[in-house]
């Protein structure tokens, strides 16, 4: 059995609607797993079940072969970092970090040693006497992390810990979190709605929607081959085309045109999807696979490139084009959907 195991978890607040429904999640020791999804998908609820703030109406939470489902929060020894950091405003940085150790009745010298050590690891040396109010956002974040880590928790739970930081600090902090997590080898669950953040940091990602996990895989696999339409949309796929299966690698669209794909699927009527940046703009004479002709209806400037919405026989297709050759509205263009980039869901 895996180190961390959520088995068939149900959570409901009003006994009618389930917030989580039959949720299963396995995590190996030392892994960093992200729960990714839009707000209201149940990712924070899942984290709160693990932390012990919510008791599931059904199912079990097993950690290291011990049933933790009914263990109260304060006996779980998990490190938690809140979105708001939840630092104790009346305590100094040192006392905030020492809070958990004092409750464990660790000796004074030991507390001093361990707090100083973790503050050094978190790059907070010299801030011991400051109060949370006197710290910047990034420093508070690191104090929250140090406070959670100093008790040597069995699990580290991070609830959107970076969402209150500015863009540059976010990137620094996620590298920092990853470094600390690796160094301490601590099993970690990271809740976020930001896919870039989550892909960059995680060993595995669980994409959640409506209280269930839609796909649980490595970031690479999720990015390249989403399994459901929801996951595909959430991680940036557009252009969903209804197809009918002819054979494993050939599919027919509604207007009768054939699409060739590298990765087939078993479904009879799948949807073919592709990212706007993977579509190539070609000339009408080119002999390329999966060619569609359409008319530009909207042009949006994205900085690096332009995005066009094309009106085609298959509906609206969104395409990214380079800034070298700019198309105008009403221009007629041909595009090619490379067979290796089409994903069937």
């Amino acid at each position: 059995m895996a180190f961390f195991n959520l088995q068939d978890i149900n959570v409901s607040y009003d006994k009618k609607n389930n917030i989580l429904e039959g949720l299963n999640l396995e995590i190996e020791k030392g892994e960093l797993v992200s729960l990714l999804g839009p707000s209201g998908c149940g990712k924070t609820t899942t984290l709160r079940v693990v932390a012990g703030f919510i008791e599931p109406t059904h199912g079990q939470f097993i950690l290291d072969d011990t049933d933790m489902t009914k263990v109260p929060v304060h006996k779980r020894n998990f490190g938690l970092v809140f979105q708001s950091y939840a630092l104790f405003p009346h305590l100094s940085v040192f006392d905030n970090v020492a809070f958990g150790l004092k409750l464990q009745k660790v000796s004074k010298e030991e507390i001093k040693k361990r707090v100083e050590n973790i503050l050094e690891v978190c790059d907070l040396k010299g801030f011991e006497k400051r109060f949370p109010k006197q710290l910047s956002g990034g420093q508070r974040q690191r104090v929250a992390l140090a406070r959670a880590l100093v008790v040597e928790p069995k699990l580290l739970l991070l609830d959107e810990p970076l969402s209150n930081l500015d863009a540059k600090l976010r990137i620094n902090m996620r590298v920092e979190i990853k470094r600390l997590q690796r160094k301490l080898g601590i099993t970690t669950i990271f809740v976020t709605h930001d896919q870039e953040e989550c892909f960059s940091i995680s060993d595995k990602v669980a994409v959640m929607n409506g209280g269930v996990i839609e796909q649980y895989d490595t970031p690479e696999n999720i990015y390249r081959t989403p399994k459901t339409e929801f996951v595909a949309r959430f991680i940036g796929f557009e252009n969903f085309i209804d197809l009918k299966r002819k054979d494993a690698h050939t599919y027919i669209a509604s207007d009768g045109s054939e699409f060739v794909v590298d990765n087939g699927c078993d479904k009879e009527d799948p949807k073919g999807t592709i990212r706007p940046e993977d579509i190539q703009i070609v000339s009408s004479q080119d002999n390329v696979e999966n060619k569609i002709t359409g008319k530009v209806i909207v042009r949006t400037f994205l900085g690096k490139s332009y995005q066009y919405e094309l009106d085609t026989p298959l509906g609206v297709i969104v395409v990214n084009g380079s800034s070298d050759h700019v198309l105008q509205a009403q221009d007629t263009v041909c595009v090619s959907l490379p067979k290796g980039k089409i994903v069937l869901v």
Binding site: R76, G79, A86, H90, G100, K133, R147
Partner: protein
């Protein structure tokens, strides 16, 4: 010119305060230090040389202090409970808790007379089930004054505290629990220190309120438990000793100011938070 015009807005308030606050205060205070022999503090020294006066003064402080402490202990758990309730429930509880303030303090004190009196409800119950043979003397004691004052001022403590605790985020409690504190420890180590500003403000209100309350000690304390406020009435109305009355009044004002100062100092000492030099 325009900038100076704005001070005109203060004029009505200043006139009001000067006529109805500053002048009366001075007319109380000045006669107590200006005597035929010049400026002296003799009348104050004389006041504290009389053991009866000192006893009344100490009793007043004791009643106010005990009332404040009881109010803190009663209000802290209740206010925390209220602050964690749903908005709709919170509104109802808040209304209930300030309900006693809506009735006149004379009526409220009379209610306590019927409860604590010789033939009052408590004594009737105690004698009928045979716990005591003779009714206990509860009315016209310091105990009765404290009970009445707690009843009178608890809403002030409760509403002040509930307001402060309302602003403590729930994740404070959760953070403490996740670090290994059970609910009680989390409450004592996190919620209580964070509520300290509310406890201090509430205590100031209750302490000064009890110190200067007249009706409750008059009705529930009887003649043998004089406090400063009833003492003033006695001196002025029964004895016509206006100078003595002024002395007591000034002492009460100074005591109140000192009490507030002390509470604020305690608050600043305990509530570091590093806010001032941020």
């Amino acid at each position: 010119m325009k900038n100076q015009m704005k001070y005109l807005l203060l004029v009505p308030g200043i006139i009001l305060l000067a006529v109805f606050l500053v002048m009366p205060l001075l007319s109380i205070f000045l006669p107590t230090i200006f005597t035929e022999a010049g400026v002296t503090l003799d009348s104050y020294i004389q006041f504290f040389q009389d053991p009866l006066n000192v006893r009344i003064f100490i009793r007043t402080l004791r009643v106010a202090l005990i009332t404040t402490i009881i109010c803190v202990f009663l209000a802290v758990p209740a206010a925390y409970y209220m602050s964690r309730c749903k908005q709709s429930v919170k509104g109802i509880l808040m209304t209930i808790s300030i309900f006693p303030l809506l009735t006149n303090s004379v009526i409220r004190s009379f209610a306590w007379i019927t409860i604590l009196g010789r033939n009052g409800i408590i004594n009737q119950i105690l004698t009928s089930i045979g716990i005591v043979e003779e009714p206990i003397q509860m009315l016209y004691t310091e105990f009765a004054i404290v009970i009445g004052s707690v009843y009178l001022f608890l809403p002030l403590m409760l509403t002040t505290l509930a307001g402060v605790m309302d602003n403590i985020e729930n994740d404070m409690m959760e953070a403490a629990e996740s670090l290994g504190a059970n609910r009680l420890v989390a409450f004592l180590k996190v919620i209580l220190p964070l509520s300290l500003p509310g406890i201090i403000v509430g205590s100031t209100l209750v302490f000064t309120g009890t110190l200067s309350a007249y009706t409750t000690p008059q009705l529930l304390g009887g003649n043998s438990n004089t406090v400063m406020a009833t003492f003033i009435y006695e001196k002025s109305m029964s004895l016509g000793d206006w100078e003595g009355t002024s002395v007591i009044a000034v002492i009460m004002i100074i005591t109140t100011v000192i009490a507030m100062k002390v509470l604020n100092t305690i608050a600043n000492r305990l509530d570091k938070r590093g806010g001032d030099n941020a």
